[in-house]
Amino acid sequence: MDLITTPLHDAFAPVAISYVLAAMGLNIHYGYTGLLNFGQAAFAAAGSYAMAVTIVSFGVPFIPAILLGLAASVVLSLVMGVPTLRLRADYLAIVTIAVAEILRLLFSTSFKKYFHARDGVSGFTGTFRSWNPFKDMEGTFLSFSANDLWVMVVGWIIVALVSTLVFLLMRSPWGRVLKSIREDEDAVRSLGKNVYGYKMQALVLGGMIGAMGGFVGALGLASVQPDTFNTDFTFIAFTMLILGGAARVLSPAVGAVLFWGVLSFMSVALSELSDIVPGDLLDSNRIGNIRFAVVGLVLMLLMIYRPQGLFGDRKEIAIDAR
């Protein structure tokens, strides 16, 4: 039974939601606008640290702390975007990946009074948990705790709202300008659009959605730790986005759920297999690595035989091949 319930549990858990939101932000950056942001982890980190530290160290109430977290992600977008968005796409990629690493190292080594180094910040979930309407449902649904259930309901509602917003925006003339910038920004400039301004708006919006991913992850874990936000965070989110198909509204959600589901299924299946197979062939210590190798193989096959992702449009990919 674990082969089904554990993957289901992991695919919809708070951690998965935080990746869904991070990938949705990346979808606006990369999928629609063509901005190569390799530092989505920085937006999630800035958002969740700002929220957690203001609550724990400064006693700010929960809702204003969330708003401060969003504000932090906006400031971060400006810091990254102002110097680089006038330049070629590569420069944004370099700056974002550097800023993400700088932030992670800053949180894990400096201002220990506020950030508590590798232990992370905890003790900020009180208000949120006090609103939990599912307190008596502990462990009844897929063995989720009552707190997880509450985070998941709120998290998936946020995912639904953000998806609706992205859907509406991307079929508007605003979304048309973003997609055009992805195709050729000089052409857009020649038609009288302020390309820099649009890129900045896209960076800010995607960054704020990434920060929301940080909030959900933090509330799910009840702590904010620097190592959550290493470069893997960004690249796993990218993987999920491409798995679903870039520039499709629902592809980050489906991609993330599938990714976690398959990853979790692999580890359960492999650990059951390791009971049967002799230890020399499949050691239970190696399962963690083997499952990533298998998922990588699946992704490679997907990119070879379905390069547009699960939801992408084959005709669009064919245009690139010209």
Partner: protein
Amino acid sequence: MPADRDEPTLDKTTLDKAPLDKAPSHRAATDGKAGLAGLAGLSTDPGVAKPDPILVATGMTRTFGGLKAVDVAHLEIQRGVITALIGPNGAGKTTFFNLLTGFDRPDAGERWFNGRSLKRVSASRVARLGMVRTFQLTKVLSKLTVLENMRLGATGQLGEKMWAGWLPFLWRDQEKEVTGRARELLTRFKLDTKEDDFAGALSGGQRKLLEMARALMVGPELVMLDEPMAGVNPALKQSLLGHVKSLREEGMTVLFVEHDMDMVRDISDWVVVMAQGQIIAEGPPDAVMADQRVIDAYLGAHHDVDITELDPEVVALEVEAEIGAEHGSTGASTTEELER
């Protein structure tokens, strides 16, 4: 003598194109004839003043390393006529185009559009002011449909603001108006059957048409075409020629870069010749093409003499005289000397 050459073309009323419904009202006052008449009897020296210039550039220079790609002392573009910018490869035509439209910044110099200085004005703002360009290598937005490409060209769309984008009822009416105008232009450019195709699926010639039609969506006063005929088959070339002429009929000013001399002779009212970054001559097409400076720039000073008939000593003397003259003048750049 040059102006009446084009009179028959102007009087032709065979062009039954749909007029642009978004033409600014002041265009009616400056119809093509007035613009063209103003060119009559002008001298053919580089930088000659025009009676009604829409675009003026002065002292524009741009260097790439040691190479002075553009060094234009003065140029005025007459309103309401078709001006061609020609010159050998590497003359700096496209760089000059980029400087005029704000896609590149000059090292020095100033330019005015409709009397308004364009110093420190961004390329997108220049386009909104009414000076729209196309590109030598066509830039269609491949993964958008032909109709979406056209819609993008419309300016002042409320739906392009982020705060209004997600509220469709705010911009739906405007979108309908924009779509109507886009369809009209697509019909005129014979792309109406392609409106739902991805722009990336169009042929090279159709892309040229789409780019020109999309530029017209902006509602420009001055259309700048960078090699509109490059890589276009002869049949389509004729239709493109008709479209460029019809822009003038509608009161727009056209400035285009072109290598195809037949086209230049056929449609341009005024020709500006660039060589080595400088404007070496300008004037009506026939006069310019007969100009000795232009022939020398394209073909070399001895192009019509059999090399065996040249007296080596005479040539040597000429070269020495030229070198002497260059050393005498302070303006000679190092690259020019290197080339010799």
